[in-house]
């Protein structure tokens, strides 16, 4: 690791000003992505501004039918929250399947979505559930927040403060993990809104990160059953291909995971 200066921010405003004064700073969430990258000397921020001690950015609260989750809330907290389990069981089970216990106790939702790893789990939930990302500057709907592989709409000094999830009539996530890293090789989040409309979002497979499967959404709005999606697969030309799985194999996994998610929902 290259030398860096650590700062602990007490408020969102303080975090923003610490960042403004830093030469080449980075916000620090749970450090589960950023710190390994730094240890491998692939990132060398001059300053780290820790946002996980900011009270306003922590915790889970009810918000009408839905929930609001502070960006510094850990995966463990999301997976064990009674509120989340009751309102959005798909989100709770997704959080419980991220990495291993150590990662879940440190990693945060804000850190995960800011990083927007194409194999990360949360992006699928945010998009399928129609969540809104609240930042230090604005509010963005999830589909506008995620802009591509490791790319988001965030500006350099913009902090994710919270994520607002509307309620859902049903939600479920099915993930086929990469055997080594256990990130998603294909993860499909299916959400049925209270008005009966369905959204299906896919992570782990797309070349540009999370994407929606509108053919599946249409099929499921008419017939919310695994059979409805059994014959629908994404175009393999748009999918990732690597030593763990070709694009054709991932296309198959998307179909299989979609069926399993609908089954669970």
């Amino acid at each position: 690791m290259y030398e860096t200066t650590y700062h602990k921010a007490g408020s969102v405003a303080e975090a923003a000003s610490l960042m403004a004064n830093a030469d080449d700073g980075k916000f620090l969430g749970g450090g589960q992505t950023l710190l390994p990258t730094m240890k491998q000397r692939l990132a060398a921020p001059s300053d780290l501004v820790d946002v996980t001690k900011i009270a306003d950015m922590k915790g889970i609260s009810a918000n009408g039918d839905g929930v609001t989750i502070g960006a510094a809330t850990t995966h463990y907290e999301v997976s064990t929250s009674d509120l989340v389990k009751q309102k959005l069981p798909g989100l709770a089970s997704l959080a419980g399947g991220i990495g291993d216990p150590a990662v879940r106790h440190m990693g945060t939702m804000g850190g995960s979505i800011s990083n927007n790893d194409p194999a990360a789990d949360y992006p699928a939930a945010l998009v399928a559930l129609g969540a809104t990302v609240v930042t230090s500057k604005r509010e963005l709907v999830a589909e506008d927040f995620f802009t591509g592989m490791f790319e988001t709409a965030l500006e350099e000094d913009e902090i994710v403060v919270a994520i607002k999830f509307p309620g859902a009539a049903a939600s479920a996530y099915a993930k086929y993990p990469n055997p080594a890293s256990r990130y998603a090789m294909a993860g499909v989040f299916v959400a049925k809104a209270s008005d009966g409309s369905v959204k299906v979002a896919v992570t782990g497979a797309g070349q540009n990160g999370v994407f929606r499967m509108s053919a599946m959404e249409t099929a499921l709005s008419g017939n919310f059953s695994p059979d409805a999606v059994a014959g629908i697969a994404p175009d393999a030309n748009d999918l990732l291909s690597d030593i763990h799985g070709s694009a054709a194999y991932r296309a198959n996994l998307v179909t299989v995971m979609a069926k399993r998610a609908v089954q669970k929902a």
């Binding site: 690791m1 080594a180 890293s181 030593i243 070709s246 194999y249 198959n252 299989v256």
Partner: protein, 786 residues
């Protein structure tokens, strides 16, 4: 602690310090004024080193020196060597290319070191290493071993034309060809053995110090064999004479073979400690471990099995190409030859075998022995083709094997080995029973009702341990003898230190070796300490690999104990005025048979040291040493049965049952043996399903971290069902065979045979990734439909 002799499930004495974080590993050691090393490594698989500019690095804070290969060569440091001479079938010696610890001219694999920085802290050393500018001119690289043998392939070493290291053979080619001519059935397969990265939990490390006044070096290092390390460093690399070099291998966190060898980094630390004038420490990080620890396996083979009309085996013909990587590591040449092809007869009476092995250089990390070393490759090949042949001729795989078992001993195979003892029916029967082999059809049908494909596979392995009779391996090209040494020191108050040339890096020697003494003298195991891993304390020894510490290392202890016992009895007889033949040792006491006269072991030990009243002419003291050279290899064998369920939608395999029935000869501590088998099977399942060192065509290792290199985890494996059947080994005093590698040797074919049974396609290769299994299964379904 208690008196815990042979057969006791004694808890491991060493575990208290390991579990409480009190182990003392190389990185825990410090020396006053020590600096830290960081290596500058090649990002290219093959390139000319045109220049190294260290000027910026030398200006950086804390930096003492940047040393390069020119300085190393200038100081007369020798090349790294391969210590086992193999001759090609035309009689010519193997073609060994030069390997320098820091390469001044041509780098041959990604990660090869070209320079070292020594600085006050590890962070400073690494920062400065990043600032060393190396001017490379890239050369075309060759990664695939078959491509490396093609004409026009990039030439890696001038010494090895066409990248061929040797073209070796074993067995009777004419007799084998004749067997195939009269065969009623021939099974042919292409069988690959995937390349693995050892991944010991503790990465390699070294701490070297030079005492200028004494002209003496001390090296702490992660070694499985510190004396061999000292010998090689001294005799071949010219670092220092042996009496001026102390090598200490303290607690070592796993080796699996990868810590047998002498690597560039450890040697550079020694050399640099004198050049820079301060002790130098280096601890490998995980990426360096992936790039530079010797890899394992990597064989491409064609195998043919000839059967007569009655399904008896007539012959086996094998052609193997083994990838040794960019340089010949210490024992690399022996692995695909004498540790591999000599086991191709398996448990079967095969009248004729011929194997041809070509080894090649490629621009990849060097390959050497890894848990099993050659024997997993032999077992995988033979047990895959046995299972496939049985399926082809329509026989039960179990019955086909039984039909061909060896049943009389000693049995001379056509490939050197002479098996001394075994009972292959016994382990097959035990495994089939434990696996409920006969009830498989019902389980398959039940799995099908859940949409799963269930399969069952066998593996009847044999392997050779206790390496090895020195004269025999000497005649086959080994540069060293493979005996072991021991010294038993009884202290004046009756506690005992055993100095062993074996080295424990997870095996539990401190416990099992103490059990031998506990058994012999009836002493509490807490009265016994096992001393190992320090060339200043322990007499020359050969170290631990090839499951040899029991059969060879403990045999040396037994020989020393025999001498101690004889002397103790003489002293006791003298003190109690009895005849030596009447002295019996029992419960920590030396008794005169048929009387109530007795002395405690402590009293006898004290008498030996006070020397006030010893038999006429006897030297004081109670301390004896012994060297033990085995008379033959030992031959552990057994049957493994694996049952899997494959998800046809994703191709994912779940190992739902795994049964092992092993014959390890006599067993000292069943708990430790079971631990070895658990670890070995898990490594084997890892190889079969998950692990694979994968390079791109430019020689970049794609699987250089745990994000991409998949180690087996607890939830990847089931609970194992283990049993042992004992045929004592006639070749050593304890009747032991060895258990350290069997699990890794026997399990991969059982897993793959089970999956191929489930999906109905015998061509599956390791690792059986979900995608591969999925694609093969669906191709088969499609073909059947057409």
């Amino acid at each position: 602690m208690a008196v815990e002799g042979i057969g006791a499930r004694a808890l491991r004495k060493e575990d208290k310090r390991f579990i409480t974080g009190k182990g003392r590993y190389t990185d825990d050691m410090t020396m006053p004024g020590m600096g830290h090393a960081a290596f500058v490594r090649s990002p290219h698989a093959h390139a000319k080193v045109k220049g190294i500019d260290a000027s910026a690095a030398l200006e950086m804070p804390g930096v003492d020196a940047v040393l390069t290969g020119d300085q190393l060569v200038g100081d007369g440091i020798g090349n790294l060597i391969c210590g086992w001479m193999i001759h090609s079938k035309d009689g010519s010696p193997m073609k060994m290319g030069g390997w320098r610890a820091l390469e001044p001219e041509i780098v041959r694999h990604v990660g090869q070191a070209v320079a070292v920085v020594v600085a006050d802290t590890q962070a400073q050393a690494r920062d400065a290493a990043d600032a060393v500018i190396v001017d490379y001119e890239e050369l075309p690289a060759v990664i695939d071993p078959l491509a490396a043998l093609e004409s026009g392939a990039p030439q890696i070493h001038p010494e090895a034309e066409g990248n061929l290291i040797y073209d070796w053979e074993i067995g009777d080619e004419a007799a084998t060809n004749a067997a195939f001519e009269k065969a009623a059935h021939v099974t042919r397969m292409e069988i690959h053995n995937n390349r693995l990265v050892p991944n010991a939990m503790e990465p390699r490390a070294a701490l070297a110090g030079y005492d200028a006044a004494e002209e003496h070096y001390t090296l702490y290092t992660t070694s499985q064999n510190p004396h061999v390390a000292r010998l090689v460093l001294s005799a071949f690399y010219n670092v220092a004479p042996e009496n001026k070099l102390r090598v200490i291998a303290p607690d070592v966190g796993g080796g699996f073979g990868s810590k047998i060898y002498i690597y560039p980094e450890e040697m550079v630390c020694l050399w640099a400690s004198k050049r820079v004038g301060r002790p130098v420490k280096w601890v490998s990080d995980r990426t360096e471990a992936f790039l530079t620890d010797a890899h394992g396996r990597d064989h491409r083979s064609e195998a043919e099995l000839a059967l007569d009309a009655d399904n008896k085996i007539l012959g086996l013909r094998v052609k193997t190409i083994a990838n040794l990587g960019a340089y010949m590591s210490l024992f690399s040449s022996s692995v695909p030859t004498y540790l591999y092809a000599t086991l191709l007869s398996g448990q079967y009476d095969i009248p004729a075998i011929h194997a041809n092995v070509k080894t090649v250089y490629t621009n990849t990390t060097p390959v050497d022995a890894y848990r099993g070393a050659g024997r997993p490759e032999a077992t995988y090949l033979l047990e895959r083709i046995m299972e496939t042949a049985a399926r082809e001729v329509g026989l039960s795989p179990a019955e086909f094997r039984r039909k061909n078992f060896i049943r009389t001993f000693p049995h001379q195979t056509p490939v050197i080995m002479c098996y001394d003892a075994g009972d292959y029916d016994a382990t097959l029967d035990a495994a089939l029973k434990a696996a409920d082999y006969d009830g498989f059809a019902a389980r398959k049908a039940e799995a099908a009702s859940r949409g799963k494909l269930r399969g069952i596979g066998l593996s009847c392995y044999i392997e050779a341990c206790g390496i090895a009779p020195s004269a025999a391996v000497g005649s086959l090209g080994a540069g060293v003898g493979l005996w072991e040494s021991a010294e038993v020191r009884v202290n004046p108050v009756g506690s005992i230190e055993v100095l062993t040339g074996s080295h424990s890096h997870g095996q539990g020697h401190e416990t099992t070796f103490a059990q031998l003494i506990s058994e012999r003298f009836g002493l509490d195991t807490s009265a016994v300490s096992i001393v190992h891993g320090d060339t200043d304390k322990v007499q020359f020894g050969m170290g631990t690999y090839g499951s040899r510490s029991g059969a060879v290392g403990m045999s040396a202890i037994v020989k020393a104990l025999d001498k101690v016992e004889a002397k103790a009895k003489k002293i006791a007889a003298h003190l109690m005025e009895a005849s030596e033949g009447d002295i019996q040792i029992e419960g920590g006491e030396l008794k005169v048979a048929g009387t109530d006269k007795k002395l405690t072991f402590t009293e006898v030990a004290l008498a030996a040291y006070t020397a006030h009243n010893l038999p006429e002419g006897m030297e004081p003291g109670l301390k004896e040493g012994a060297f033990y050279d085995p008379t033959n290899f030992t031959f552990p064998a057994g049957t493994y049965v694996c049952e899997v369920e494959v998800d046809p939608d994703t191709g994912k395999t779940e190992v739902v049952n795994f049964v092992a029935a092993d014959d390890f000869g006599n067993i000292i501590n069943p708990m430790i043996v079971e631990g070895q088998v658990h670890g070995g099977i898990t490594q084997g399942i890892g190889q079969a399903l998950l692990e694979n060192a994968s390079y791109d065509e430019n020689g970049q290792l794609l699987t250089a971290s745990y994000m991409d290199y998949c180690m087996p985890r607890a939830d990847d494996v089931p609970s194992y069902s283990l049993s042992t059947h004992v045929t004592a080994c006639p070749g050593n005093p304890l009747g032991m065979k060895g258990c350290g590698e069997a699990g890794a040797i026997g399990s991969p074919p059982a897993v793959i045979n089970a999956i191929t049974d489930a999906i109905g396609d015998n061509s599956l290769s390791m690792p059986a990734s979900p995608e591969k299994v999925w694609a093969l299964y669906h191709a088969g379904v499609k073909q059947a439909a057409e």
